[in-house]
C-alpha cells in the first residue's frame, strides 16, 4: 500500500507521464461524493479535521439531495513505488439531464472509475455514462462501493460489471467510501492502470473547457484540461467557438482550494479566471487557445446546450415578478443551459417561459428560485418543442400550447428520445406496458445478469417529461432506473386541447397531446378542476375542447349558502374578523372571467398525483 506522497509534483512543471486524469461514474446515491472525500483525505489535500461531508458538492441543494450538479476538478498527489504522481479527479454531474456535460468531463480523462453500489447494482444512467466512457476509449476501473453494508451482494454485482466491461469478476475492486476500506488500493490502481495523457508540448495551446462556474467574487471560473501546449498567466487567450478573447488573470489548480500556478501544461487539469461574468462566454466543450499563437483546429465534440423541456414559471404573488426576473438573470450566470423569455398568461399573469435540459434541471432550478430567492412559484406542465408546419409551408416552433397555431396544420413533428431502462426482470411486463401506453417502440432487451434486464425504447420526449419517471419508479417498486438521450424527431398526430371555465379559455391548462389521448386528458383535467375549484355564486361549466369541438364537460354547481346564520350575543368583532379573513382569501384568487380560482387549484391541477410531494419549505 502506498504512503501519502512526500512531495507533490508542481503544476506547470509536471511531466505528463506522472499525470493521471480520471473521473468517477456513479449513480446519484451510490457514494461517489463519499469516496471522493475519502480520496481527498488519504492523499492529504484535505486534513481530516477540515473534512466536511461531501466536500466537493458546494451548493446546499446538492448536499441535501446528495447529487452533484456542477463538476469540479481536484489535483491530488499520490506516491507509488517512490514516484509522486499528480491525480486529477474530475467530478462529473450525476444526472440524466446533464449528458453533454458528462461527455465533456469524460473527454478530459484517460480513465474512469465505475462506481456501483454493492447493494443495488448498476443503474441506467451509470450504464449510459459507462457506454459513453467506453466510446471515448477510457480505461475503466470497476469498483463496488458500500461493501460494508449488510445488504451488499458483491459477488452478484461483480459478475454484472464483469459482464458489462469484459474481464474477471475478481478484478472488480471492493471498497467502502464510508470506512475507507480499499480506497488506497484504488488510488494505486488508478496510477498503475490508467494511461498517462499524451499531447504536443510545443504545439499551439489547446485546452478543453469541461465546466464553468460563476463565483460571486471572482466571476466565471473555467475548468480546463490542457491537451497541447501550455497556458500562462497574463497572456491573452481566445475561445475558439466564439472568437472571444480574454486576459488570463489567474490560472491554477484546485487542491481542493484554488491555488494559482505558473501555468498549465500538457495533460494538466486546472482553472482559469478571466474576469468575465457570464458562463455563456466560457462554454463547456469549447477550446481555449493562445491569441498570439492560436491553434488552427479546435478540439472535437463541441456542441451548444439545447433546452429540451419548457415550462412557464409564474410568481404566485404577481408583485414578485421583478424578483423572479432578477433571480433568473443571476441563475443564468451560472447555468449555460438555462434559457428564458418573458411570457404572459391570462390566468397566471406575468412570468417566464423557461427552457431546461430536462425535468431534474427544471426541478432544481425551481427549487433554487424558491429557496434562494424566497419565491413562491407556479410552474405549468412541462412541454417539449414541436415543429409545426402550416399548409402554407410556414414552420412554427411551439414550446407553449398557447402558441399552437389555430390555422391549417400540415404536419407536426415532435422530438424523440432513446431511453434505456434497467430493472429486475420481474418488472419487464409492467415496463413494457408503461412504454407502450406512452407510444414507445421497443428497440431491444438484454440481460445484464441473471435477473436484471436492460430495455431500450424509442419514445416521444413529451411522453416522458411529465410523470413517466415517477410511474416507472412506482411500477418497479423503486428498482427501475432510466436514462434517455435525444434521438431525432417524428411526425405525430397531435392536437391541442383547451380547457374552458364558463366559456373562458384557461391558457395554463391547455395541452398538446396525441389525438388518441386528448379525450383522456380532457376528462382528467375537467374532473380535477371540478374538485379543485370552489363553488361560485353561479354554475360554472368546465369544458375540454379541440378547436370548437367539446370533448369533455363537467360543471360546478352554484353555491347556495354563504351566510353566517347568527351573530353571537353581539360579538360583532368575531364576525368582522371572519369577513376580513374571507376577503384576504379572495385576494389570493385568480380571476378567470368571473370565476374565482384559488392558487392552490392551479398548483394542484398542474401537479400529477403520482409525483412525489415536493415538500415546500
Amino acid at each position: 500500500m502506498s504512503p501519502m506522497a512526500r512531495t507533490a509534483p508542481v503544476p506547470a512543471a509536471t511531466d505528463p507521464a506522472i499525470i493521471r486524469n480520471f473521473c468517477i461514474i456513479a449513480h446519484i446515491d451510490h457514494g461517489k461524493s463519499t469516496l471522493a472525500d475519502r480520496m481527498l483525505q488519504y492523499t492529504g489535500v484535505v486534513q481530516s479535521r477540515d473534512m466536511k461531508a461531501q466536500y466537493l458538492d458546494r451548493m446546499d441543494i446538492e448536499r441535501e439531495r446528495g447529487i452533484t450538479i456542477k463538476s469540479q476538478a481536484v489535483r491530488m498527489p499520490w506516491e507509488v513505488e517512490g514516484t509522486s504522481y499528480a491525480l486529477n479527479m474530475i467530478d462529473t454531474p450525476g444526472h440524466v439531464d446533464f449528458t453533454y456535460e458528462v461527455s465533456r468531463s469524460l473527454a478530459a480523462c484517460e480513465g474512469a472509475v465505475l462506481l456501483v453500489d454493492a447493494a443495488q447494482g448498476i443503474e441506467a444512467q451509470t450504464l449510459a455514462n459507462l457506454y459513453l466512457a467506453m466510446e471515448n476509449n477510457l480505461t475503466i476501473i470497476p469498483v463496488l462501493n458500500k461493501i460494508d453494508l449488510p445488504a451488499a451482494q458483491p459477488e452478484k454485482y461483480a459478475e454484472e460489471l464483469a459482464n458489462l466491461i469484459g474481464g474477471d469478476p475478481d478484478d472488480v475492486l471492493r471498497v467502502s467510501g464510508k470506512t475507507g476500506m480499499g480506497v488506497e488500493v484504488l488510488l494505486d490502481k488508478i496510477v498503475r492502470d490508467l494511461p498517462a495523457p499524451v499531447g504536443d508540448p510545443n504545439a499551439p495551446a489547446r485546452a478543453m473547457i469541461f465546466d464553468s462556474v460563476y463565483d460571486t467574487y471572482r466571476g466565471v471560473v473555467t475548468y480546463v484540461r490542457v491537451v497541447d501546449g501550455m497556458l500562462h498567466p497574463r497572456e491573452r487567450i481566445q475561445m475558439m467557438s466564439t472568437r472571444a478573447t480574454h486576459e488570463l488573470l489567474e490560472i491554477g489548480v484546485s487542491s481542493p482550494e484554488p491555488t494559482p500556478s505558473k501555468g498549465l501544461g500538457v495533460g494538466e487539469v486546472g482553472y482559469l479566471i478571466t474576469g468575465v461574468k457570464d458562463v455563456r462566454l466560457s462554454k463547456v466543450g469549447d477550446t481555449v487557445t493562445n491569441l498570439a499563437k492560436p491553434a488552427s483546429q479546435s478540439l472535437p465534440g463541441y456542441a451548444d446546450a439545447k433546452p429540451m423541456v419548457f415550462s412557464g414559471l409564474y410568481p404566485l404573488d404577481g408583485t414578485d415578478y421583478p424578483v423572479l426576473r432578477d433571480a433568473l438573470e443571476k441563475l443564468m450566470l451560472n447555468d449555460a443551459a438555462l434559457v428564458y423569455q418573458p411570457e404572459t398568461s391570462a390566468a397566471l399573469g406575468f412570468g417566464f417561459r423557461v427552457g431546461f435540459l430536462g425535468l431534474l434541471h427544471l426541478e432544481i432550478t425551481r427549487e433554487r428560485l424558491e429557496r434562494e430567492y424566497k419565491l413562491d412559484l407556479i410552474s405549468t406542465a412541462p412541454n417539449v418543442e414541436y415543429e409545426v408546419t402550416l399548409e402554407d409551408k410556414k414552420v412554427v416552433h411551439v414550446t407553449n400550447p398557447s402558441e399552437y397555431p389555430t390555422g391549417k396544420v400540415a404536419e407536426v413533428r415532435e422530438p424523440m428520445v432513446s431511453a434505456t431502462i434497467l430493472a429486475p426482470n420481474e418488472f419487464v411486463g409492467a415496463i413494457m406496458e408503461l412504454c407502450q401506453s406512452r407510444r414507445g417502440v421497443m428497440g431491444g432487451m438484454d440481460y445484464l445478469s441473471e435477473d436484471r434486464v436492460e430495455i431500450r425504447y424509442r419514445l416521444p420526449l413529451a411522453e416522458i417529461v411529465f410523470d413517466f419517471f415517477d410511474i416507472l419508479k412506482s411500477k418497479t417498486r423503486g428498482y427501475g432506473s432510466l436514462d434517455w438521450k435525444a434521438d431525432g424527431d417524428q411526425v405525430a398526430d397531435l392536437v391541442k386541447v383547451d380547457i374552458m371555465l364558463q366559456g373562458e379559455q384557461v391558457d395554463a391548462f391547455s395541452a398538446i397531446t396525441h389525438r388518441e389521448k386528448a379525450y383522456a386528458y380532457g376528462v382528467m383535467m375537467t374532473g380535477k378542476l371540478r374538485e379543485l375549484i370552489p363553488r361560485q355564486q353561479f354554475e360554472v361549466p368546465i369544458q375540454a375542447a379541440i378547436g370548437s369541438r367539446i370533448i369533455a364537460r363537467e360543471s360546478i354547481r352554484a353555491i347556495r349558502k354563504d351566510v353566517l346564520a347568527k351573530c353571537y350575543g353581539g360579538d360583532i368583532s368575531r364576525k368582522r374578523k371572519l369577513l376580513e379573513k374571507q376577503k384576504e382569501g379572495k385576494k389570493r384568487m385568480k380571476m378567470v372571467g368571473r370565476v374565482e380560482v384559488p392558487q392552490e387549484a392551479f398548483i394542484a391541477a398542474l401537479t400529477t398525483d403520482e409525483s412525489k410531494d415536493k415538500a415546500k419549505k
Binding site: 355564486q537 369577513l579 376577503k583
Partner: protein
C-alpha cells in the same frame, strides 16, 4: 356567545371609555344584555360561554350570580357617567345564556330591577328573556312579567325527538305548547327559536318542526342553521363519523322551506334568521346589534358596544366574579373602531336587514357591484332603484358573499 374571545387591545382596569364613545350618544338607543352562564346540561353543539352547576363553585356559583351581575350593572352606570355619556333609559333588555331561566325568576327580576333602578326603562321598552321549555312554570313566568319582562324566547329548536336527541336537548316536544300558553297567560310576547340542519334531520323533519312551531302562533320566530363549532362534542362526533356532517345545500333547502312556511303563516323576515308577525314584534334588541346601537353586556364573556368601542368581559365566571369583587372592570379586551372599520361593520350588519342598506353610502366600487348583484338575482332591483340594497331570498342565503362583493378590496 362563543367560548373564544376576540383579540383586541387591553381594556383599562377602571373600564373607562375613550372620548369617541360619547360622540352623538344622545341620538342612539341604549340597551342592556345580561348573560346568564348556566345550563342544566351542556348541549353537544354548543360552544357558548356556559357552565353546568357542577363545573362551578365559590363566588361564581348560581346562588351568588345575581349579586355579582348587579355589581357590574352599578359599575356600568358609573363608567358611562364618568366617560361623559348622557343619561339614557334602556330601550331594550335581553337576558340570554346559557339558560337564564335556570336561575330562580326572583334572581332575574332582581337583576332587571337593579338595572331599572340605575337607568330606568323607556316607555314601551322591550324586555326579553331566553328560556328553556323545561325550566319555566306558570308562576315563574308570571313573576317575570310582573318584574317588567315583556317577551320570552323559548329554545324549542325542533319538534322531532331524534333531532332533539342529537342536539342533547332535554325537553319533550309536547311541553312547548304548554309553556307558550303559560307565557301568553302571563301577558308575555312569545318567540320560538328553531335550529335546522342538525345531522340526521330530514327535510320532512324540518317541515314538521316548522309546522308545529307555527301552529302555536308565535309572534316571532328565529331559525338558525346549525353551526358545528370546533371543540364541541358534535364536532368530534362528526369527525369520528358517528353522525353525518353538515351540508350547505341541505341548509339552503331548509332555509327556503322556512321562509316559505313562515311567510305563509303571516310572519315576515326582518333579518336573515328572524321573522316577526308585525314590524312591531321584531326583536328590537336584536335589531340594535345589526344597526350599531349602544348596549352594555353584563356577565362573563359578554360583549358591549358604545359609540364604536367594542369590548368583552373575561370569560370565566370565577374570574369575572373576582374582578368585580375587587372593584375592577371585568373587561378583558376591547377595540376602538376607526371610520373605515365602522363602515365595514355597517355594511356587513345592515345588509342582513329587510330595511336594507343605503346604497349611496357604498362608495363607487360598491355601487358598481350592485348591478352585478341584481343580475345574479341576489338584490331586489326595485329597492335598489330606490336607493336601498335589500337582499332577495337567494341573496339572504349568500349574504356574506354579497357583503364581500360590495366592500372595497
Amino acid at each position: 356567545m362563543p367560548s373564544v374571545l376576540p383579540l383586541g387591545d387591553p381594556a383599562p382596569s377602571d373600564g373607562l371609555l375613550p372620548p369617541q364613545a360619547a360622540d352623538g350618544a344622545a341620538d342612539r338607543a341604549f340597551g342592556l344584555y345580561v348573560h346568564i352562564p348556566f345550563c342544566a346540561v351542556r348541549c353537544g353543539y354548543c360552544d357558548f360561554n356556559t357552565y353546568t352547576a357542577t363545573e362551578l363553585g365559590g363566588g361564581a356559583s348560581q346562588d351568588a350570580y345575581a349579586s355579582t351581575a348587579i355589581s357590574e350593572v352599578r359599575l356600568a352606570a358609573e363608567v358611562l357617567k364618568t366617560s361623559g355619556l348622557p343619561d339614557r333609559r334602556m330601550s331594550t333588555v335581553f337576558f340570554g345564556g346559557g339558560t337564564p331561566t335556570l336561575l330562580p325568576a326572583e334572581d332575574l327580576a332582581r337583576i332587571l330591577g337593579a338595572a331599572i333602578e340605575v337607568w330606568g326603562l323607556e316607555p314601551g321598552a322591550e324586555v326579553t328573556t331566553e328560556a328553556n321549555p323545561d325550566s319555566v312554570t306558570p308562576e315563574s313566568l308570571q313573576l317575570l312579567a310582573d318584574a317588567g319582562f315583556t317577551r320570552v324566547s323559548f329554545g324549542m329548536q325542533s319538534a322531532v325527538p331524534h333531532v332533539l336527541k342529537v342536539l342533547d336537548r332535554t325537553h319533550t316536544p309536547s311541553r312547548v305548547p304548554q309553556v307558550v300558553r303559560w307565557a301568553r297567560e302571563a301577558g308575555l310576547a312569545v318567540s320560538l327559536d328553531l335550529i335546522y340542519g342538525t345531522p340526521g334531520e330530514s327535510l320532512a323533519d324540518w317541515r314538521y318542526s316548522l309546522e308545529t312551531a307555527l301552529s302555536y302562533e308565535p309572534d316571532h320566530i328565529s331559525a338558525y342553521a346549525l353551526i358545528v363549532e370546533d371543540g364541541t362534542k358534535l364536532a368530534a362526533q362528526i369527525r369520528r363519523g358517528e353522525v353525518p356532517g353538515i351540508d350547505d345545500d341541505d341548509h339552503a333547502d331548509k332555509y327556503e322551506l322556512a321562509d316559505q312556511l313562515i311567510g305563509e303563516a303571516g310572519l315576515s323576515w326582518y333579518e336573515v334568521s328572524n321573522w316577526a308577525r308585525t314590524p312591531e314584534q321584531a326583536c328590537r334588541h336584536n335589531l340594535a346589534y345589526w344597526r350599531g346601537d349602544d348596549w352594555w353586556g353584563i356577565g362573563p364573556g359578554a360583549h358591549s358596544h358604545v359609540g364604536g368601542v367594542r369590548w368583552w368581559n373575561v370569560k370565566h365566571p370565577t374570574a369575572y366574579a373576582g374582578r368585580l369583587s375587587g372593584g375592577v372592570s371585568p373587561a378583558a379586551g376591547r377595540e376602538t373602531l376607526d371610520a373605515e372599520t365602522r363602515n365595514v361593520e355597517r355594511v356587513m350588519l345592515e345588509a342582513r336587514l329587510s330595511s336594507g342598506l343605503d346604497v349611496s353610502g357604498l362608495g363607487t366600487s360598491g355601487q358598481h357591484a350592485v348591478a352585478g348583484l341584481i343580475a345574479d338575482g341576489l338584490v331586489d332591483p326595485v329597492s335598489a332603484f330606490r336607493g336601498r340594497l335589500v337582499l332577495t331570498l337567494k341573496g339572504r342565503l349568500l349574504a356574506d358573499a354579497v357583503v364581500r362583493r360590495i366592500l372595497p378590496d
